[in-house]
C-alpha cells in the first residue's frame, strides 16, 4: 500500500480540485485491480471493517519506545497516528514486504479482535513513514484527505472518459 499512501499524502496537501483529480486519475491509471478498486472504496468511505481503537495503537508504541520521548514527541506532533508512524522503530534486520491495500482490507474484515495488534505491528514494521501514517489513519477510521466520494468517482470515471454515475 505504499503507492496508495503516497496518493493520500499528496491529496492531503493539495488544495485544488482539478489537481486532486489529476493525482487520483494518475494513480488509478497506473494501479492494477483489485488494488485500485479497494483504493476507490477507501476514498469514497465505502469500506467497513473492525476499526482499531487509539488505545490499542498507544499500547503498541508503548511496548517499543521510551515513554518520556513518546510524550514529548506526541506533544510536538499533535496527532497520535502521525506520531506513531514517525517514531515506529525501523526494522533493519531483513527487508520486509509491505502489505498491499487489498491484503490489509481482507485481513481487517476477517481477523478477530485478539489477532489485530500483532498483525498491525507486522504491517507497521514493513512500511515507511508515509505508509504507516496512511495505514493507521485507515484502521482507526480517520482517513480524511479532503476528497469527497463524488470527486473520487469522477477521477475513476475519467479513466474511461465517462461521466460518473449519480448513485452506485
Amino acid at each position: 500500500m505504499n503507492r496508495f499512501a503516497e496518493l493520500l499524502d499528496r491529496l492531503s496537501y493539495e488544495p485544488g480540485r482539478n489537481n486532486k483529480l489529476r493525482l487520483m486519475t494518475d494513480y488509478f491509471a497506473s494501479t492494477r485491480d483489485p488494488e485500485r478498486g479497494w483504493a476507490l472504496a477507501a476514498l469514497t468511505g465505502a469500506l467497513t471493517f473492525q476499526q482499531a481503537k487509539p488505545g490499542m495503537v498507544r499500547a503498541l508504541i508503548a511496548e517499543r519506545t521510551d515513554p518520556v520521548l513518546f510524550e514529548w514527541s506526541f506533544d510536538y506532533v499533535g496527532d497520535l497516528s502521525e506520531t506513531v508512524a514517525l517514531m515506529w522503530p525501523a526494522k533493519r534486520s531483513e527487508p520486509l514486504v509491505p502489505p498491499a491495500l487489498s491484503e490489509v482490507v481482507a485481513a481487517l474484515s476477517s481477523l478477530g479482535k485478539a489477532a489485530l495488534p500483532a498483525t498491525l505491528a507486522r504491517w507497521l514494521d514493513a512500511l515507511d513513514e508515509t505508509g504507516r501514517w496512511a495505514l493507521l489513519k485507515l484502521v482507526t477510521g480517520e482517513l480524511r484527505v479532503g476528497v469527497s466520494a463524488r470527486l473520487a468517482k469522477t477521477a475513476a470515471a475519467a479513466l474511461g472518459n465517462k461521466a460518473p454515475q449519480r448513485s452506485s
Binding site: L69, W72, V77
Partner: protein, 348 residues
C-alpha cells in the same frame, strides 16, 4: 582539569578562557572561532575571526569586506595553538566549509560540532567522527519523530510531480546557503538537465559554490525569464518569499519546501506547502544518537533545539549530559539567509 575550565557556556556562546576566544558568539567579541557560515552562527563585527577559508569567504560575501577586524583561514586537520589550547577544525558535513572544532589541553579533548549531519552530501566534505571526552552537539531535530530518510527518494517524488503537472512551475523553498545548492546537486544527480531558476538573493552564494568546483549545471535567474519559460520549470527561492508577490511570476506554482521540518504535517501545512520535501542539513534523531555514542564521550553538552529530549536520552545511556541554553541560535527554524526576510524580496 575539568571540561568547564576549558570551555564555559555563556548566554552569548561558549567561551574558551584559556585560549581567549568564543565559539560562534551571538554578540561581537574580540576573537571568534566560527563553525559555519549560517547567519545565526557567523555574525559580523568580531575583532578577529578564525574559520575555514570557505566560511570566511561566505561571511565576506554576506557582510562585505569589513565583516571582522581580521580573518585567519585554517584548513581541515591543521593545528593552531591559541594560548594553552590546541585547536583543529574537522568537516561537519553541514554546508560548504562547515567545521567541528576540536580543543585539546592537558590530555582532555572537547569537540564542539556546530551544526552537523552524517548523511552524504555532494556539496560538502563528509562529517568526521572524532573520539573525545566531551562532545557538544546540536539538537535541532532531537526528537525520535525526526528521521530524514533518503534525499534521493524525495527528489524522485519531486520529479514525478513535475511529470504529472508539466504546466505548473515547482517552486522550492530552500535556505540560501547549503540547502539550495544541495537540492540542485541532487536534481542533477537524478538526471535533471534543464535550467534551474533561482531567486536573485541566492545567486552570489550559488555562484560561489560553483567557483569551488561544485557542479550545479545550468542556472538562470527567475527574474530574467518570461512567464511562458517558467511554466513547468523548477525554481528555488528562500522559504520566506514562497507566498510573496515574487512568486506571482509563476503560473499556478506548486509550492515545495525542502527542510527537515517537513516531516511533521502540521509544520508543512503552516507553511502552506503542497509538496513537502524532507531534505535536511542537520542530523536526524538516529544521526544524533549514533554520533554521540560513536565519539565515545562520557559527557555530552546539548545546544540549540530540543535539548531536553537528547539530554534525557544521553542520561539513559549512562552519559553525563547537560543543556547549554545558548540564546539566539535559530537552527533551521528561520530562513538562515543572513538578512531580514523582507530584504530577500525582489519586486515582482
Amino acid at each position: 582539569m575539568r571540561p568547564q575550565d576549558i570551555l564555559l557556556p555563556t548566554p552569548n556562546g561558549v567561551c574558551c578562557k584559556l585560549g581567549g576566544f568564543h565559539i560562534d558568539p551571538t554578540r561581537p567579541v574580540e576573537r571568534a572561532v566560527i563553525t559555519h557560515g549560517h547567519s545565526d552562527h557567523a555574525r559580523a563585527g568580531h575583532g578577529a575571526v578564525l574559520a575555514t577559508s570557505e566560511t570566511i569567504d561566505l561571511m565576506r560575501l554576506r557582510y562585505g569586506e569589513g565583516f571582522a577586524g581580521s580573518a585567519q583561514p585554517v584548513r581541515y586537520g591543521e593545528t593552531v595553538k591559541l594560548g594553552d589550547v590546541k585547536l583543529t577544525l574537522h568537516p561537519a558535513g553541514h554546508v560548504l566549509g562547515s567545521a567541528q572544532i576540536a580543543l585539546e589541553t592537558n590530555g582532555l579533548r572537547i569537540v564542539a560540532s556546530g551544526d552537523y549531519k552524517t548523511m552524504e552530501d555532494p556539496t560538502c566534505a563528509p562529517f568526521e567522527r572524532l573520539p573525545c571526552d566531551v562532545f557538544i552537539t546540536e539538537a535541532t531535530f532531537a526528537l525520535p519523530v525526526f528521521r530524514h530518510g533518503d534525499p534521493d527518494a524525495e527528489i524522485a517524488k519531486l520529479l514525478h510531480s513535475v511529470a504529472l503537472f508539466p504546466e505548473r512551475a515547482h517552486l522550492i523553498g530552500a535556505y540560501s546557503l547549503g540547502k539550495a545548492q544541495r537540492v540542485i546537486a541532487l536534481l542533477r544527480k537524478a538526471g535533471y538537465e534543464k535550467p534551474i531558476y533561482l531567486h536573485g538573493s541566492m545567486e552570489r552564494i550559488t555562484r560561489y559554490y560553483q567557483s569551488r568546483g561544485i557542479e550545479l549545471g545550468l542556472l538562470e535567474l527567475a527574474r530574467n525569464a518570461t512567464k511562458a519559460k517558467l511554466a513547468g520549470a523548477i525554481a528555488l527561492c528562500p522559504p520566506s518569499v514562497l507566498h510573496e508577490p515574487w512568486s506571482r511570476r509563476f503560473f499556478d506554482p506548486l509550492t515545495c519546501f525542502a527542510s527537515g521540518w517537513m516531516r511533521v504535517r502540521a509544520r508543512a501545512r503552516q507553511h502552506r506547502v503542497e509538496l513537502p520535501l524532507v531534505i535536511s542539513d542537520h542530523a536526524d534523531w538516529e544521526g544524533l544518537t549514533a554520533t554521540i555514542l560513536g565519539t565515545g564521550a562520557a559527557e555530552v553538552w546539548v545546544t540549540h533545539g530540543q535539548e531536553d529530549a537528547l539530554v534525557h536520552w544521553s542520561r539513559a545511556q549512562g552519559l553525563r549530559a547537560r543543556p547549554l541554553n545558548i540564546i539566539d541560535y535559530d537552527g533551521e527554524e528561520q530562513d538562515t539567509d543572513g538578512k531580514a526576510p523582507n530584504s530577500d524580496s525582489e519586486r515582482p
